[in-house]
C-alpha cells in the first residue's frame, strides 16, 4: 500500500510540469484510481485486524523500512518507486491472480534477490507460509479458519471488532465466526483479484488498465523526478543498495515530519485495533482522527515533498515521502499513557508544521488540521468522562 501511495504522490499535476492538457486529465484519473485502491487496501488492513482480533491475535503495525528484498515471491525488491511502467509492472504482479498471464516485464529488468529457505524443526513452530500470489496467501489463511474448530479458534471478544464505515467506499468487515471469516477473506481476494472471467474493478485490472494507457502514451514522463527509496538516515533493517539519502536541509525536516505524522497515524490505528479498555467514544474519535490525519496531513506533506529537492543539487531529483520508522513501533499497555503520548505527538507535529510555513504556506493548513484533531480527541475524551 505504501508503494502505491508513493507512486500516486509522485505524479505530475500541473501543465507547467511539461504535460499536455490530455495528459493532465489522464494523470488525475490514474492518481484517483490508485488512491481508490489505497482506500480499499486500508479497508483490507482493518478487516485483517478484525480477523486477528477474532482469534485473540494482536494486529501488527511494525514493519521494516524500505527497501526490502521480496525473497522468493517476486523477481524484485520492495522499493519506493515513482509512478512508471516499472512501478505498475510491480503493482500488477502484487495483485496478479493465479492462472492469469504474468505482466510483461518493464524494459529495465528488475533486480532478483536470493532465495530464502527455512528448515523445520518442531511442529509447534509455525511453518513458513509459501505463496506466489497474494490470493494464495489469503486462501491459506482461509484454510486455517476452516480447519480449526470454531470453539477453539474464535476466542477474541466480539465487541473488539471494528465494524464502522470509515468513509465512502471503505467498509471494514466484522469477523466473529468461520462464516464471517470466510466472507472477510473472500472480500479481500475479490477486491484485489476480481473473479475468474471477471476482473473488472479489481486492483489487478485497475493497474493493468493504467499500464496499458501509459504505454499508449509513448515518451510521456508521468512522474516528477522523484528519487528511488528516499530516506533521511541509515537504518539497520534496510537491505539493498538502491537508496537515496536526502541531504537538503529543508527536505530532511519535512520528510522527518512526514514520518512523525505517519507514526502518529499508526499510533491511532494501533490503539483502535489493539484497544485495552478504550471506551466506545474514544475508539470512535481514534477512527475518525486516523482517517483525517491521513487525508489532511500525510497526503499534503507527501505532495509538498515531491516538489522539494532531494539534495542541494537540483539534478539529483526531488524528494518524496520516506515512510521511515525510526525505532520499533510500540504501544503503551495503559490507556491513559496511550492518549498522553498521542497528545504529545500532535502538539509536537503542530509546532513543527508552524516552523515550516516558510517552506510552504500549506503547512499552516496542516498545522490547523492537526491542532483541530487534537482538540477533537480531547473534547471526545472529556465528553466520555462525563457519561
Amino acid at each position: 500500500m505504501l508503494q502505491y501511495m508513493f507512486a500516486a504522490m509522485s505524479m505530475k499535476k500541473r501543465l507547467d510540469e511539461g504535460i499536455s492538457g490530455e495528459q493532465q486529465e489522464l494523470l488525475r484519473d490514474w492518481e484517483s484510481r490508485i488512491l481508490g485502491v489505497m482506500r480499499e487496501e486500508m479497508a483490507h488492513l482493518g478487516t485483517v485486524c478484525n480477523l486477528l482480533t477474532s482469534i485473540g491475535g494482536a494486529p501488527r503495525f511494525d514493519r521494516p523500512n524500505f527497501p526490502q528484498p521480496a525473497k522468493t515471491r517476486y523477481p524484485f525488491s520492495f522499493d519506493l518507486l515513482p509512478f512508471s511502467d516499472e512501478a505498475l509492472y510491480r503493482f500488477i504482479r502484487f495483485e496478479l491472480p493465479k492462472g492469469e498471464t504474468p505482466p510483461a516485464p518493464p524494459s529495465r529488468q528488475p533486480t532478483a534477490f536470493g532465495v530464502y529457505l527455512a528448515a523445520l524443526s518442531f511442529e509447534v513452530i509455525p511453518e513458513p507460509i509459501e505463496y506466489e500470489y497474494i490470493g494464495e496467501l489469503y486462501r491459506q489463511i482461509a484454510e486455517g479458519f476452516r480447519s480449526i474448530p470454531e470453539n477453539k479458534l474464535f476466542i477474541g471478544p466480539k465487541f473488539a471488532q471494528d465494524v464502522e464505515n470509515w468513509s465512502r467506499r471503505m467498509q471494514i468487515l466484522r469477523v466473529v465466526d468461520r462464516q464471517s471469516a470466510q466472507a472477510a477473506v473472500d472480500f479481500i481476494i475479490q477486491e484485489g483479484e476480481g473473479s475468474p472471467g471477471n476482473r473488472a474493478g479489481s486492483h489487478y485490472a485497475t493497474f493493468s488498465d493504467i499500464r496499458q494507457q501509459l504505454n499508449r502514451e509513448s515518451g510521456f514522463k508521468a512522474s516528477r523526478p522523484i528519487v528511488v527509496n528516499p530516506r533521511t538516515r541509515p537504518h539497520p533493517d534496510v537491505s539493498g543498495k538502491a537508496i537515496t539519502l536526502l541531504t537538503n536541509k529543508n527536505s530532511v525536516k519535512v520528510a522527518e515530519l512526514f514520518n512523525f505524522c505517519y507514526e502518529t497515524a499508526l499510533l491511532m490505528l494501533a490503539q483502535l485495533y489493539c484497544f485495552g479498555g478504550e471506551t466506545f467514544g474514544e475508539r470512535g474519535i481514534l477512527r475518525e482522527s486516523a482517517r483525517q490525519i491521513m487525508t489532511m496531513a500525510l497526503r499534503p506533506i507527501a505532495e509538498i515533498l515531491t516538489e522539494m529537492p532531494a539534495t542541494d543539487r537540483p539534478a539529483d531529483g526531488n524528494a518524496g515521502p520516506t515512510f521511515e520508522l525510526y525505532s520499533p513501533f510500540q504501544l503503551s499497555t495503559q490507556v491513559s499513557a496511550r492518549f498522553t503520548i498521542l497528545y504529545e505527538h500532535l502538539v509536537d507535529a503542530v509546532g513543527e508544521c508552524e516552523s515550516l510555513v516558510g517552506v510552504s504556506s500549506r503547512f499552516a493548513f496542516i498545522a490547523e488540521n492537526l491542532g483541530l484533531i487534537l482538540q477533537n480527541i480531547r473534547a471526545a475524551r472529556a465528553k466520555e468522562s462525563h457519561l
Binding site: Q24, E25, R39, M296
Partner: protein, 291 residues
Amino acid sequence: MMLWLEYSGWFQCRLATDPDPSDEGRGVSGYVHAVPGEPDLDRVVRLQPTGTVPRSHCPPIAVTVNRLFAENGGTVASPIVGAAVELLDNPKFEGKNHIIAEDGFEPIVPFHLRISKGSFLLDRKFDDTMQFPPRSDADWTKLQQLQAGGVVISPGAIGAATGIFSLAQIWRQRSSLLDADLRASTNEVERAALKSRIRAMSDPRNARFFGARMMYSIPLSGTALVSDPDRLLGGTPQTGSTPWLTDFWCGAWDPDAMCGYLLGYLGLPIDDPGFAPGVAAMMSDRRQERR
C-alpha cells in the same frame, strides 16, 4: 418596524470534495476537478462575478436583492432591488473533511455580509472576536451558529427557485453545446478541458446533490456599517448589540458549473428593538454539536 430583504442568485464555489483534502488544488479523488487551463481550486464562496472562473454555457454568477417585505407582509417598492449581495473576506465552507463538521453541516467562515448599490450600503460581520480555527469553547459555540442545519432534499423548492427541475436535461443541452465547441476548437488545452467536462456530465452520479439544500440561519452581531443617504430604508437600522438575522439556503449544486443557488432573507430592525436574545440558539436545534 422590521424590514426584510429577499435575495437570490447563483454563486460559485470551486472546492475539492471528500476524500480529497479540502485544500486540494486540482481535485483528484473527489468528484470536483479543475479542468486543464483553469487555476487551482480555492474554495472561496463568491456571490458576485469578481474572482470567479466562469465555465461556458453555465449560469451567470450574481446574487442580488429581489424584493423587500414590510412587517405586514406587503412588498415595498424600493431602489434597493437589484443591489449586489456579497460575502466578504474570502469565506469558505469549512468542514475540513469532517474535522470541523460532517457533510451538510459545514459552517461558512468568515461570515461577513454586504449589500450595496450606489451609495447605499449594508455591511455587517457575524462577529468581531471569533477566532478561526477555534481555540476556545466560546469560539466553538460561535462556530456552531455558522453551521448549516443539515441537508434537506427539496427538488421542488429548488426547481421553483431556479426554474430547473431536471439538471440532467440541462446537462444534455450543455453537453451538446460543448460538443460543438470541441469540434470548433484547435487549442489542445481547451479541447482537453471540454472533453473532461463532457465526460463528467455523462455520469449521472455527479448530479446527485442538485436537489439538496443546506439551510443556514445566522445572527449578525459584529460591526455594522450603514450608508443610506437617500433614506431608502425608511429609517435607521439598529446596530450595536442588536443583531440582524439572515436566513438562507444554498443548493442546486451543479458541479460542472461549480455553482449553486442561494435564496435568503435579511431581517433589519428599523427603529426597533430587533430580535429577542436567544433566537440564534433556538434556530440551531438541528446543528451538529461537536462540543
